[in-house]
Symmetry: D4
Subunit: 218 residues, 8 copies
């Protein structure tokens, strides 16, 4: 288990991270961490490693692209001084290209996505112990689907930046692909984007596995 006693773990991202968390910051009781994978990660850390006192904070924001993250990076990441930072972004960067194709200024194309994400990672690296980069995903089993192909491209960019920067890399698309062999996409998300509880378990497991969580502890 890589996390150490008393560390603060901050998650940032879009609606999949947000999941109706408390504002301005998601932390504390009463569902403040939202209803998604962040809350699951927190719950497992508390239930299985209660003595570590890991503090989880959620600053995901629905509808965000990597450009939106950049605009609020100072106050929503750096000022909060996390020990660990997890980033999962890109859904909306890609989706807007497909659901509102005529409104170009809502799209974030691959070059801008890559440059902006790299800049955020580089800027933050000196200030934290560890960064976790999670790919965006698309709950479509057909790898030739246009939007799935684009999403895979963005995933590859995340992987490249993780390797460059020494961040931990979580391939969420790969984790979902295993399940999509048995379950049709609509079981996990009517819109192929916002997962059910089962989908959030897939995300939380992928994250926890990467940080050396021991499921059979205790």
């Amino acid at each position: 288990m890589l996390l150490q006693k008393g560390q603060k773990l901050l998650f940032i991202g879009d609606s999949i991270t947000d999941c109706d968390r408390a504002k301005p910051a998601g932390e504390g009781l009463f569902g403040a961490l939202g209803k998604g994978y962040v809350s699951l990660v927190d719950a497992f850390l508390q239930a299985v490693y209660p003595e570590l006192g890991i503090r989880v904070v959620n600053t995901g924001m629905s509808g965000n692209t990597v450009v939106d993250l950049k605009d609020r990076w100072e106050e929503d990441v750096l000022d909060r001084k996390p020990d660990w930072l997890s980033i999962m972004i890109g859904t909306n960067d890609v989706w807007r290209q497909y659901d509102t194709p005529f409104i170009k200024e809502w799209h974030v194309y691959a070059d801008k996505y890559e440059a902006t994400l790299r800049q955020l990672v580089e800027k933050t690296k000196p200030h934290v112990n560890k960064i976790v980069l999670m790919t965006p995903f698309y709950l479509e089993s057909n790898a030739q689907d246009a939007m799935r192909r684009t999403m895979d491209e963005y995933g590859a960019i995340v992987k490249k930046i993780a390797e460059e920067s020494g961040a931990l890399f979580v391939d969420t698309q790969a984790a979902f692909n295993v399940v999509l062999k048995d379950l049709y996409a609509a079981t996990l998300a009517w819109d192929r984007v916002h997962p059910t509880q089962a989908g959030h378990v897939v995300l939380a497991r992928a994250f926890l596995n990467k940080i050396g969580f021991d499921w059979n502890r205790g």
Copy 2:
């Protein structure tokens, strides 16, 4: 134009027909016909053929399968004595097989779908001037997608029954396929099922074209 002065045209179906219509029956002012293709058909008939006085009634019901239609056929179709009847059903019969695969009793498989739909058509034919059968559809351009394949099967059943019974046949999937060449499915429906206004225009056009509506009249 096949509809004649003073005729009553009744639409029945699932949520795509319902679209938040008035209950118990959707007819009259104040959005009583819902927000979908039924309301568009009615609006075009009134605006372009005002002198015909066609009366449109909507008895679609969200979540319905063909089995649900059967349960309310007497009061929601026959008792209302329509001159024309349009049926578009099958979305949920198929969808439940894919979004809740473990709950078998919510599924309506192809044989039961076919038998039930045929029974309803046969029973109603003597009482109306004309029946229109619209296929269910799935807003997925990949014809090899599992759910799209099943939906196409159900569409083929609708076609077969239309031919047997002399009903007018509206191939909504074909109409959407034209648009899906240029627009990604998510533009027309996040969940690939409930269309935007543009999607409802596709449905209304397909319907109106089939009944000989003259777009350039007046």
Copy 3:
């Protein structure tokens, strides 16, 4: 069809244009374009000319007169850099003279209406490809009715400015008059101003016909 690939078409006006659109700007999914003729125009453009990628934006505002338009012209028209601009204004300019006759400062009389509308058109002409001017209308078949007479005067002003400026001219009152031969005004609007879906179809048809829309395409 006069609109060309990738162009942006902006509609401005009063409540008949607004129709509960998204604020600050009406564009994108989820009913952002409102429930009226603007949404219908957009839906037909998408459904019939999907490859053109026309982007429709709605900045209508309930209760507005031409004077209100002037106050927000910079941000709601010019700053949005449309290729095409459609203006339909005047309902409230006239209506207030009849429904609250004692509150004079709510009225916009013909001379001010004409001067202000001309000024907006002249100022905007150099910045757009084409302007469409739609008359205001009143759903009253009696051409001698006091408010109808005034509305017709304002319609004549719109026509004059269209001719002067080379704008496309859409005579909405004429389009409604055809329907009003067969349908009593209350069928289209209890208050003779805010139309039903059928009334919005009349408006959308008049607009689309003027821009060379091919109804039988595809």
Copy 4:
């Protein structure tokens, strides 16, 4: 003043009478009498003739036609044993012919209107001291307007029945016509049917004048 100490005065009618009264019966404090002419009549009777202790009851119901009145006559009129009964009905009987012309079963044509109203009056006459018959009205100054013409026909029927039966007759259309010389219809009612407070004052005055109310008393 024709009303005598301790008498009960019951009003029945449609939405113009109802005006959001308490249900099942409108009487007592806290706006139970609704917001229209009934409440004004009650307020003037209490304020100017407090010693008479006239009890006013409102059983108007929105949307009602004379046929609906017939269906609830026993419980909403006879069972309540009024000394005076005021009836104003017919708006919806006529309006449905004009706003939903294709839905014939919602219309109540003149012959049925006349027969039903006469039957109600004849049946009730032996049980009450006095009946007041108020005409329905339409806030349109053009007497040649189609719906206004029909409404005038229904008003003439009311007059005929009043004369036959010895009921007091209140010509509400005539009372409004005086005001419509100076005020455009939209000032009194956007939809030409549901009046503003000023319109309800016209109705209350016409009623009170007919029963010999002394405005300058006290």
Copy 5:
């Protein structure tokens, strides 16, 4: 009738004047004038003298004392340039002395009341055609009741200022006293302050009588 063609009549006061009027200013359609005597005065002026085009404006505010009026006098009276001004204030000035006796700073005692009201009247007199001063009132028939006695004192101050300044004087308490001979106070107001519709008729009649309104006109 003292009011002349085209004049503006502004009412200011507390909750009895406010009665849920539109904010920031109560004028126009849709109940903008509130549900009290102001709306009744307006409705009678429109219904009986429609050709005069009197414009009524309501700027009453719930909970106000004369001190609160002073704070908003510029924008809510002078800036609106009325021809006639009607003031009814004092209820809360007195009531707070009786319902929250220990919170002294909420009380406005007689000397401050008199000085402030006189100052407002003097300041405004040069700018308007006529001022109407209405007394505050208390719906208690026992003239020896402590709060009634105080209210009567404030009423006497209003009378004095009216006489000094040549304002029209409306003795609302006297008008209510007539009715209170026959009706127990609770019939007109459970809290002895906020009247029913009947109570507002008493107020409107007292006002209209003072300005020479002809009830039997037309």
Copy 6:
């Protein structure tokens, strides 16, 4: 202290007893006993005599008269098998005579009040340990006020029945009169009927004093 370990004490009455209690029966946590004197009595019993385990139940119902009590006596009193029963009724029996004087069937006059209350007491006496009869009250210091005089009459009836039947008698009007010497009625209740928290303390004290509650215990 007259109450003994484990006894059940049931309160019945009108809105002053009800005070928004839980339905169908007011007992248990979360404000189930309402916001009035019943909850105060319960709280003092629990806080000062926790070892007695007195169970308090509230079945007061807003708007009730003694006739309404009679209609639900079986299920709301007898079936609940209380050891002690407290009744405070009469407010609405009297109030309706004064606030809606013309609606006679809403009034319960003194003879019917007395007969009905006596009948309830007699019927219940054999089944309970003790009955407490609390007078209704009116927060008006002027003993010559018409409604106060009537309320005092009803109070005298309660006293008579208490004496006849050996019930404990709580004179709530007397308890309030002490306070009304120093506080104007409006401080305790705007409508002279529904008391503030201070008024409910007056009621709770009067009740607790009568049953021998020791305020200085513990």
Copy 7:
């Protein structure tokens, strides 16, 4: 892993099981399984063993005791024909003894609890493959606390019945005790009963461990 392909697993219990599930039965998408451990179990089964197609149903009901379960056993357990049944009941049976000690009929004492639970288990055993019995729990680390002691007694009863009947036994109190060594009870539940997400993870883990779930699968 003890669960086999296509089996139905039904959970019944009180509010900790209910957690705002859909009614009448909790199954399907959109949070139908509630927000607690049942939803977590379902999500892990779907995410880790998607090919098994386990169907999870939740019929927990807030506030229930074992006596309430008995009353709805036929329709909410037997009629649904589960393959596996999990029961966690007893919280309210104990809690009411401590939070509303004077209302005896809300308490379910140990003998009745044991008899009723045994009866339900015996009756159901022949109809299902396997029963899982989960103890009720109390989030109090002090084992001498009165309510904790009682809860432990009830837990021992559950254990006894599990042994007698061959049911799987899940000791939830023991699972929580491990965590309570490091976390104060208030971290997991302000009221010591309704757990946070972390508490529900403790429950889900205990359940899944007992049925042989392989956390490291896939």
Copy 8:
């Protein structure tokens, strides 16, 4: 009785003081003082010593710690110029250490608590007649419970500061301990913090006893 005629008594604290009081300041009618012990103290002072005219003000604020009090001390205490000041603070200072142990900056440890409270008392002493210091409390009968032990420490600090500064000292924990001998904590507060009405009576009694309130007066 230590309070004297016309004095103002201000309460400040956290949610136990706040109890849904009016904002910005809790004073006056209509539940402005909240639903807790402050309202009870006020009600007893009014009901038993009405002639003193004590004015009670509530400025408690949910969630506050002593540090939050300090931030608003000027406007919420000093600017309101109370004669008496009662402070009850510390619940959240302690609770956050136990319910969100990992979020250190939400904790207020004993040294900071002591220093801040002393500073506030010292600063205020010269401006008021008397200060009352009430301890925070925890409704847990086990004195060895971790959070109860901490709360007792904070209570000891309050006692020390009261002695130093000559403030009246109210030991709320001691008052509750008497009741907790007979009632399990959950009867008084599910979360052991926010009391029922009975718990607020315990607080109000402890306060009133300390200021010499005579329960048997009048």
